[in-house]
Amino acid sequence: MNRDEARQILLLYRPGTNDADDPEVAAALALAKDDPELSRWLAEHNARQTALREKLRQIPVLAGLKEQIVSEQAAKSKAASRRGAMVSLVAVAAIVISLLALAHFYLAGGSSNGQMANTLDNYKSQMTAASQAGYSMNLVSSDSGKIQAYLAGARAPSDYALPAGMQKTAMAGCAVETWQNSKATMICFRSGKPLPHDQYGDLWLFVVDRTAVKDVTDMSSPQFAKVNGLMTAAWTQGDKLYLLSIQGDENDLKNYL
């Protein structure tokens, strides 16, 4: 083996691995010991290999990914094991939700035609209740492009503008809700905190055309309020009304605005 052949072999040599167990590599390394020029080349090559290896391993991993994988899988397993009891569970859930909706209707004061009065307070109440009442996602995905495409196809608001704090937050999916006779978009996010097995996310953004809620005024700054146990922020931007809700307090919410 000459110097050039040894260099060719050592191009793929990684210090600190089992590569030296290969007889061909071992022979090339032995040659480098006795050849100062090859030895200098190898020292620099090794340093380069080590630097590349370390740098590649420093590529940041998206926050919350592990929790997302584990909770998603746990939810699937749970769903599978409960499939047998699903029919009765759905029936019970439907009754509970109906009762809650009925109770809410009387407490909030219904309009004469039997529909909830078209006010911002009622909108907040209905949307936050939807995120708490065991909703199902229309689309489970962390891909914002897919979510936007789905919403556009469903003719729900899809040209929304995410606040700066939300743009790096992992999405979990979306659903289309109905408010009065309009469609409202619900996007579910994951803050990265551990979630119960049956929960998709812990942060919900609702978007609706602002004309769909009658008493909405210009709200360029978010208005905070506690609704149905969730902290909410509501604001308007362009022709949209935004409602962000979180399981937490006002400071938690401000991190995402």
């Binding site: 990684r14 089992n18 590569d19 380069r48 740098k55 592990k66 994988i69 492009g145």
Partner: protein, 169 residues
Amino acid sequence: MAQSVDFENLVSSHYGTLYQFALSLTRDEAEACDLTQETFCIWAAKGHQLRDVTKVKTWLFTTLHREFLGSRRRQTRFPHVELEHASAELPAVSPATIYQLDSEQLLEAIGQLDETYRAAIMLFYLQDYSYNEIAEILGIPLGTVKSRLTRGLEKLHHLLTNIQTPPPS
């Protein structure tokens, strides 16, 4: 045997490197996330079929790569051909230059490599896989692995020499 592997521990041990591998293949965070998650979903459904528990990591990388190829199948085909040997003289990119790069610059350079080289190089550096293991994961002959690594490294070094790094402070 493999069903005795605890799912959460398995995710903790491998999700980071699987994501980095997926990101190098897709060059898209959301797609890399979905690919990583899909890999663990497939493990949850089919992992019990794996008899040798020591092969879990290789199985995960193989599955992720297969899923990636599946998603790209309509777009391109990967020719399994032997490439000619590259020159033994790599462009002289210094280790100090590499250390000055940030992750985005490095990913950008990796992303400019042909997909044929990208997977082999990432497995080579991320996990210190042997050539045989890389061949098994990518489903290509051993000689092709070596050719792809040699040629891919040459191209990567060329790309790195052209990156402007900030002067050391």
